[in-house]
């Protein structure tokens, strides 16, 4: 597929904004890094919720589990995990830059693969469920994981666990910013490629009529499981990075925040337009900006504003921004009768 000049310009523009942002607005670096995290959330959620029609409320599970796996690897590579958590508070793990980067690199890889494997295992169970039962089933997985880890003392239980700080004078903000930006770009490029293959058609078919898809011989379970493991892979990495950014991992608020991040994933994809490549990205950016602005200027009313946005979105604007554009200008999206001569002969 050759890319048009306009598309190239768009991609270059977004990339430029992404790279320049922390230098233009240095005070907002962390907030913009969070925005890229939200983009990853929305895109990976849309792979199931939008493109495949499976509204997962449990994708946050892979974020949290990736965070814990990464943390455990990063610490156990250098000290005994049990000792470290037993002395939490007083223990501080100072590493050299090389040690730190090696630990983080290995941690992220293990987190990505671990989350992916868990997606295969849980997919085996929950993909027997359809519709609202799937949504509740996945939510259950995420909540249970948070509660279970809260009782596991080796990883600090409910009290949480601190990560080794970023070595040297710098606090790592810029480093994590570019890691998050890189992850968002990698996720985007991967999905953009994936959506040019038969994979997209198969999961779209599952969304539109799963029984028909089965009847046509499509290996539906295989597609569903692979789709979820792809999301899990990127979410696992995002969790590992976020844990390091915060510097502290705890089960309910940081790793498995089902009612904030877990729900935001869904809202952002709906806002931008689910089932499209750019919709979740636009939705995530808009959502994050609105959220940050209301948290700064409308403090006390921020949840009300966010709630109002959700209501407006769901009641008046179900197809989201890109979906609305598609309905309004279908021919711009290639939805049109072509060859009017043939159309006249075809009486059907």
């Amino acid at each position: 597929m050759s890319m048009s000049f306009n598309k190239l310009l768009l991609h270059a523009g977004v990339l430029l904004v992404g790279v320049a942002a922390p230098f233009v607005f240095p005070a907002y670096t962390s907030q913009i890094a969070m925005m890229w995290l939200m983009v990853v959330f929305a895109m990976t959620w849309d792979l199931q919720g939008g493109q495949m029609g499976y509204n997962s409320l449990g994708n946050i599970f892979f974020f949290g589990i990736g965070m814990y796996i990464c943390t455990i690897v990063q610490i156990s590579m250098f000290v005994d995990l049990g000792d470290y958590t037993a002395h939490s508070g007083s223990a501080r793990l100072d590493l050299t830059l090389t040690q730190f980067l090696t630990g983080l690199g290995v941690g992220l890889i293990v987190a990505a693969i671990g989350a992916m494997l868990l997606a295969v295992v849980f997919g085996w169970i929950v993909f027997g469920l359809r519709g609202p039962y799937f949504a509740i089933g996945t939510l259950g997985v995420a909540i249970a994981a948070g509660e279970l880890i809260g009782t596991w003392d080796l990883v600090g239980g409910g009290g949480g666990i601190s990560l080794p700080p970023f070595p040297g004078e710098a606090d790592g903000t810029l480093f994590y910013y570019f890691m998050m930006l890189g992850l968002a770009i990698a996720t985007f490029l991967f999905l953009r490629w994936l959506y040019t293959t038969s994979f997209l058609l198969a999961i779209n078919a599952i969304r539109d009529d799963e029984e028909k898809a089965e009847g046509m011989g499509i290996q539906t379970k295989r597609y569903k499981t692979v789709s979820w493991s792809i999301s899990a892979f990127f979410l696992g990495i995002s969790g590992g990075l976020f844990g390091n950014m915060i510097g502290f991992v705890e089960p309910l608020e940081v790793a498995f925040p089902t009612i904030t991040f877990g729900i935001f994933m869904v809202l952002m994809a709906l806002l931008g337009g689910k089932g499209t490549l750019w919709g979740p990205i636009i939705g995530a950016i808009l959502f994050h900006v609105i959220k940050e602005v209301t948290w700064t200027y409308l403090l006390g009313w921020q949840w009300v504003t966010l709630g109002a946005l959700i209501v407006i979105n769901v009641v008046f604007f179900q197809q989201g921004i890109v979906g609305w554009m598609q309905d309004k200008w279908p021919e711009k999206f290639g939805i049109e009768v072509d060859d009017p001569d043939a159309a006249e002969k075809e009486t059907a």
Binding site: N204, G215, T220, E336, V337, D338, D339, A348
Partner: protein, 247 residues
């Protein structure tokens, strides 16, 4: 002549309702076989049993000599036996070409095949078949926005895209404009002769059955009532009593 589908003594009940009782029949290779019967006589249940939508209580169903009564829908589809639905089922939010592209046979699909780009040859075949059913100019429209009749034609084209050995059609002409039915009969016949697909058709429209079928089975109250050529069936007093006369 070999039989593609061989049904022997199949029974199926739902709770207390006996939908099929001791039904035996066969679909010969290369022919068009039709199944008729009053509403509620168990035609669709028999279809569903054959393609594996539900387990049968008794009996055996063979496809090309292989027992398939314990296989699942996808497995049977991959063997080369497909069905279309009475209530048309297409992928509504996808355009016609996409509907066709994903309907390729999945018989030998490997893991990596999931990530294949669309190749030109398959796209060409998809467009050719859309032309065959008369939907070429509408190929980029979302299929959910097509009329009911057009969706039926699309579903038929999707089935052809799958290169099935046997195609089971559940009331292909129901809800289609009478003037278009002739075109559809013609296309069904061509699918049979040109593409060599064995057809097994549930149909209420007797004109269609008489025009189309090589042999006809008639179900009534879940039991096989009669079997013969269209002429024989038309003149069979039991069939007339159970069905044709029952207007």
């Amino acid at each position: 002549m070999t039989n593609m589908i061989e049904v022997k003594g199949v029974s199926k009940s739902f709770g207390g309702v006996v939908a099929n009782h001791n039904v035996s029949m066969s679909v010969p290779e290369g022919q068009i076989t039709s199944l008729i019967g009053p509403n509620g006589s168990g035609k669709t249940t028999l279809f569903n049993s054959i393609v594996g939508y539900h387990p049968i209580d008794n009996g055996s169903i063979q496809f090309e000599g292989q027992e398939i009564s314990d296989l699942r829908v996808q497995e049977i589809a991959r063997l080369g036996m497909l069905r279309t639905f009475q209530q048309t089922r297409i992928y509504g939010k996808m355009n016609c070409v996409q509907n066709m592209l994903i309907s390729i046979p999945h018989r030998k699909a490997t893991f990596m095949d999931m990530f294949k780009p669309h190749d030109a040859e398959i796209t060409e075949k998809a467009e050719h078949l859309l032309e065959f059913v008369g939907l070429y100019s509408k190929r980029k429209l979302l299929s959910g926005n097509l009329s009911f009749g057009q969706q039926k034609l699309l579903e038929f084209a999707m089935a052809l895209m799958n290169d099935p050995k046997v195609l089971l059609l559940d009331e292909p002409t129901a809800g289609i404009n009478p003037t278009l039915i002739n075109g559809l009969i013609d296309r069904l016949k061509r699918a049979n002769t040109e593409f060599g697909i064995t057809l097994f058709v549930i149909e209420h429209n007797m004109r269609v059955v008489m025009n189309l079928a090589d042999n006809v089975y008639c179900l009534a109250h879940g039991e096989m009532l009669a079997h013969g050529t269209p002429e024989e069936i038309q003149n069979n007093q039991d069939v007339i009593d159970a069905y044709l006369g029952a207007h």
